[in-house]
Symmetry: C2
Subunit: 355 residues, 2 copies
């Protein structure tokens, strides 16, 4: 089928953006810049049907705004506040969005890591009403991946979350689309950029407090840096990867966790001077049918595959049955890479639809 006839057949890809932080604001210009590409390659251009944010309201635009027409110099949210219809809350936003023809919810709200709420509630509602859902939110996936995937299947919808681990670097999609039947046996990874950065700054002579302050300044560490440094962020990611790539049924509390809180600067510097720096390592493997996953500090010897991870670089190595050991590296990611992961999930959904 050629592109023109495809485009004529398919309704536009109407999207709802729930949450309007850094990732959403990086995603909109990316959607705009890839709008023509989407038209050419997928036969549809993305249209934004609503933007919802807890602080600034939930706004539905009945007709929708083509991503390519979003103004560059003005915060796109203003247009939705001005020309859209406000609704009361996230649930009403999903319902009203569905009513104006939205097909996909992009869920980018702020995270409550301990139970994945309220994002989990929103994702359930959206899937229940037959919307596809893309999330960059680790909580709901780590806590309820299998439930949400089963719900999506029943609704003939898609639930995608590539960005939750190493941003847009294809890990979830790699396994699904390009390493079929490879037999992943284990992985070992540096998945938390804040802890890598803080450790490498302490190695360079910073105090722990100064290193944390600097990581916040750089926009790497969250308001509560201990979510990263105590290993919770890595636990969420490890849970998602273990459940996705190693067919696990883990909840986050089943991942053994030890953060870097109790490491002294002396210990950190001594290890680095001995050319075996300490990093927060995530790993999972099967042993006698038991899936064992853990996050804990470990020393990286000279030949360790994870040594490529400098500064905020993330790295993962897989042991596979058919392909031996392979590694993927994401060098110094920013929010741009997270937005790209969301975009790549959208493309996956649109491709599926076009087939």
């Amino acid at each position: 089928m050629n592109k023109t006839s495809l485009s004529a057949l398919l309704p536009p890809a109407r999207l709802l953006l729930l949450g309007y932080g850094h990732v959403a604001r990086a995603l909109l210009p990316l959607l705009a810049s890839r709008s023509e590409w989407s038209g050419d390659q997928l036969g549809v251009r993305p249209v934004i049907s609503g933007i919802g944010t807890r602080r600034r309201g939930f706004h539905i635009h009945a007709q929708g705004v083509e991503a390519s027409l979003l103004e560059r110099d003005v915060d796109p949210l203003y247009g939705f506040i001005k020309a859209g219809t406000p609704v009361d809350n996230a649930e009403a936003f999903i319902e009203a969005g569905k009513a104006v023809g939205a097909t996909t919810l992009i869920e980018l709200t702020t995270l409550n890591p301990h139970n994945g709420q309220p994002a989990l509630k929103y994702i359930r509602s959206a899937l229940q009403s037959g919307l596809n859902v893309i999330t960059a939110n680790k909580g709901p996936v780590a806590h309820a991946q299998h439930e949400l995937q089963a719900l999506a299947r029943r609704q003939n919808a898609q639930f995608r979350f590539e960005s939750t681990v190493m941003d847009g670097l294809p890990l979830i999609n790699l396994a699904q689309f390009t390493l079929p039947g490879v037999g992943i046996r284990s992985f070992r990874a540096l998945l938390n950029t804040t802890s890598s950065l803080v450790l490498s700054m302490i190695e360079q002579g910073y105090t722990r407090e100064d290193a944390i302050a600097r990581a916040k300044e750089l926009g790497i560490a969250e308001a509560d840096p201990w979510y990263d440094l105590d290993g919770w962020d890595a636990v969420m990611k490890t849970t998602i990867l273990a459940n996705t790539l190693l067919e696990g049924q883990l909840s986050p509390r089943m991942v053994r966790r030890e953060g870097i809180r109790d490491l002294s600067p002396d210990e950190i510097r001594t290890a680095a001077l001995a050319d075996s720096p300490i990093r927060l390592i995530s790993q999972a493997h099967r042993k006698h049918d038991l899936l064992i996953a853990e996050v804990r500090p470990g020393k990286l010897s000279k030949d360790d595959l994870l040594r490529v991870g400098k500064g905020t670089t993330s790295v993962i190595s897989f042991e596979t049955e058919a392909m031996g050991t392979i590694s993927l590296v994401e060098h110094e990611p920013t929010v741009k890479q997270t937005a790209y992961g969301v975009f790549s999930d959208l493309v996956t959904i649109l491709k599926q639809r076009a087939m």
Copy 2:
């Protein structure tokens, strides 16, 4: 659609194996071990309809042999010699294979790098008769990728070649399936394992001759090691990647080539002692709309991303517009990884068919 109904609808995946060297012999047990997986996931199990080899004849098996039933202890070729029908040559093999219902040719003949023949001729014939083609043969792809892809499109067939660069590590498929619209701007890579191995052995004190002899013993270097050491192998791979990932229209002779022949052991050791070892680097980038690709020895400084490549490890770094820098590493590949790349191409073809 559930798996059972899918399976009932689809004819078996009948394959022709042309060429019967290391890769083919590693592929057959892999197909056997993944037969059940294929049935479950794709609704079809692979069936071998013929094996053709220049030295031992071209054998068509009218009914076909299910991969899972291939005998483990006996060379599978014997079964085809015994129970199959011999034909005269590769062209007749393709024609007779098509007549018994084969849908995909797996082309694994030996390489003539200078013009890609005779593999190129076989691939053309197969595509012309409407077969899908998978090849692990760099020559035909480097010399005629765009022609063959256009021919495949006209015939509504697929032409796939993941294994030609870094074996089964998804590079071709990565760009096609999991990094949509990422905007790859350049790459830099160690793609030739023989030269990496020989250089690292010279660093360790081997003479060049001994290093080459050892690389042959290990089954890494070919009978003519200078195809690798003069950079031809890397040129083929660089051509394929540039044409696939950077939308190039290059032929191999448009890639600047400088091998490691003229490097003295002293020079190699001095660089390694200064912690900037020399490796054969492949790279390509666009400059003013011109695609520049080259293969030449270069020093890897301490922080070079390619430093992860020890021994025979292959590594590639991409600069992308939307995802910054990402790298992929294949640790010490063997023929097993090449066979997996062929298998992953087969899965891609079968998935497409099942949709």
